[in-house]
Symmetry: C2
Subunit: 337 residues, 2 copies
């Protein structure tokens, strides 16, 4: 029995060596996204806010990292059959891009209410898209069906060690970039749906920036990770919950991701859609970055002082920017009008 607090995740939890191996695999394929700072944003937050701009990542979100790390480890003999993924959109694009780069076919099941931009981009990268109903269909069962039909390799959106290790490269980069800037972050805030990004990032931060506390950030009605961290068991989202943070609408934390997160996270934060829209507007005005709703939850937590950054140095991960023009314009108006 391991003495690691992550032992409940067993062999499935990646270690820092796995994350460093992932960093070597994605080097030259993924964008080393900048860690940005805005004096005006610092003033709003009352501290020093460093923004990890993952909307600038290939495919417009961090998901390419985990997808590429997982797909590049598929054995040669299994490559011709291709890959299958089920995804609200960003994982779909990450898998489609990575598969295309490795010349493998990809079939992606997406919720039928996924933003048009995500569906279009996924098809644009050569993947076949199938639709499912977010509330009625069981996406895991659907995924298994697809795997059997195509004999392809399933690339899960978060609950897989290779995927988590790939997302963890965000944490490695944050640690190196903060050091290069002479910054010593006291906290790192990470958007959270299934929990893969925050799990991987927290493992890397614990190894490379042990002084920094890592928090998940979620939409208010989808705060299952925050509640699970408090109760110590995987809680579920209430039926009928709504949010415009389409990337983060998962019903419950992953098994592997929660086993990691309960050991590594300092806590979970939650923000309303209005607060997210204000954060999108702040990113537009002060950072000149396009954030999708789910990508802006961690910034929203700082701007609302649900995480009090006053006098602190805080890293905020902005996880993606795949948002339709109409949704983006509406978010700008919500605070501008």
């Amino acid at each position: 029995m391991s003495s690691s607090p992550i032992s409940s995740a067993g062999a499935a939890a990646p270690g820092i060596a796995d994350i460093e191996a992932a960093a070597r695999r994605i080097a030259g394929h993924a964008v080393l996204t900048p860690l940005l700072e805005s004096p005006a944003l610092n003033k709003l937050a009352g501290g020093r806010v460093l923004v990890k701009a993952e909307m600038l990542q290939r495919t417009g979100s961090f998901k390419f990292r985990g997808a590429y790390n997982a797909i590049s480890q598929i054995p040669e003999a299994a490559r011709a059959a291709g890959v299958v993924a089920f995804s609200s959109g960003n994982h779909a694009q990450g898998v489609a891009a990575a598969a295309q780069m490795m010349r493998m076919p990809a079939v992606i099941a997406m919720p039928k209410d996924a933003p048009a931009i995500k569906v279009g981009n996924t098809r644009g990268m050569g993947a076949e898209v199938m639709f499912f109903d977010r509330e009625k269909d069981d996406r895991e069962a659907l995924g298994k069906q697809l795997v059997e039909k195509h004999r392809a390799t399933l690339i899960p959106p978060y609950d897989h060690p290779h995927v988590i290790a790939g997302q963890g490269t965000v944490g490695l980069e944050i640690a190196a970039q903060a050091q290069a800037m002479g910054a010593r972050p006291e906290a790192v805030l990470v958007p959270c749906g299934g929990g893969g990004l925050v799990a991987g990032t927290s493992l890397a931060i614990r190894a490379k920036l042990p002084g920094a506390a890592v928090y998940s950030a979620e939409p208010a009605d989808f705060d299952d990770t925050a509640r699970s961290l408090r109760s110590g068991q995987r809680e579920r989202v209430a039926p009928g919950a709504k949010s415009f943070c389409d990337a983060l609408l998962l019903p419950t934390p992953g098994v592997i991701t929660f086993a990691i997160n309960r050991a590594t996270l300092a806590g979970g934060l939650a923000v309303t859609d209005d607060e997210v829209a204000q954060a999108m507007e702040a990113a537009f005005t002060h950072l000149k970055l396009v954030a999708e709703p789910g990508g802006a939850v961690a910034l929203a937590a700082v701007l609302t002082r649900k995480f009090d950054a006053r006098g602190k140095t805080v890293v905020v991960v902005m996880s993606g920017g795949n948002v339709d023009a109409a949704t983006f314009a509406a978010a700008l108006k919500r605070t501008v009008a």
Copy 2:
């Protein structure tokens, strides 16, 4: 007499050593903005497009570089009297930020139709703002009046060797970043108002990437640099010309900048406001970057194939992102609706 083709600019034209000195001065104060690439944008352009994202620069545009380089060279004895600038907005913010960092007072004269975001940001950085009429008032005479009244140092927006050398650091970074990416750009396209950014950048590119041709990009009705390059003399914009590219509405090329540009540029490109709006939408969709109208003219030139990038590697400078939410939303709709 110098044998340099830039000799007509005389002592006023900075050399590569001046640009390298500027790079050392701004290091740690300016953002080393990323050189970004989007596979989807490459597909649209038919070539490889590398985007120098100067909207991520401090104050949201490249102008901070030249302002900081100029202000940091003001002699100690003259610092208390502060600086004066006249500007459509981005230079105003650059000067205000640099003056604030060096604890010097700043008075900025801005056109009364400048975007609210630029006026607000300039005041937010502690500068005193005065307004002038873009069509009726002589901004140079106004600048001189202000200098006499305050006994301050005038920081011109483009026609000054220290300002041009500061903007040239964009070219130095492009050369280094392209090399690090293994790219060999054949052309560099740069937004052009008074011509300071393209002058400085072209000097740096000529020294560090001698194989690359540099082009200016302007709004169609403000193509004075393109026409001046063809005629060999400084041409003027026609009275009543209009464009929503507020950062680029200058009546004629600068004296020093044109002396440089006629020697260094391969030609001048011009794009319509509709083409600019489409480029802003493309930057939103594919790059997740907020471009202001004037910041998107070079990208527009590539996307319209006014510069044919097919089969080529081309660097596009996006010079700023200070745009009001309403203008940005309207630009997105122009192509989305």
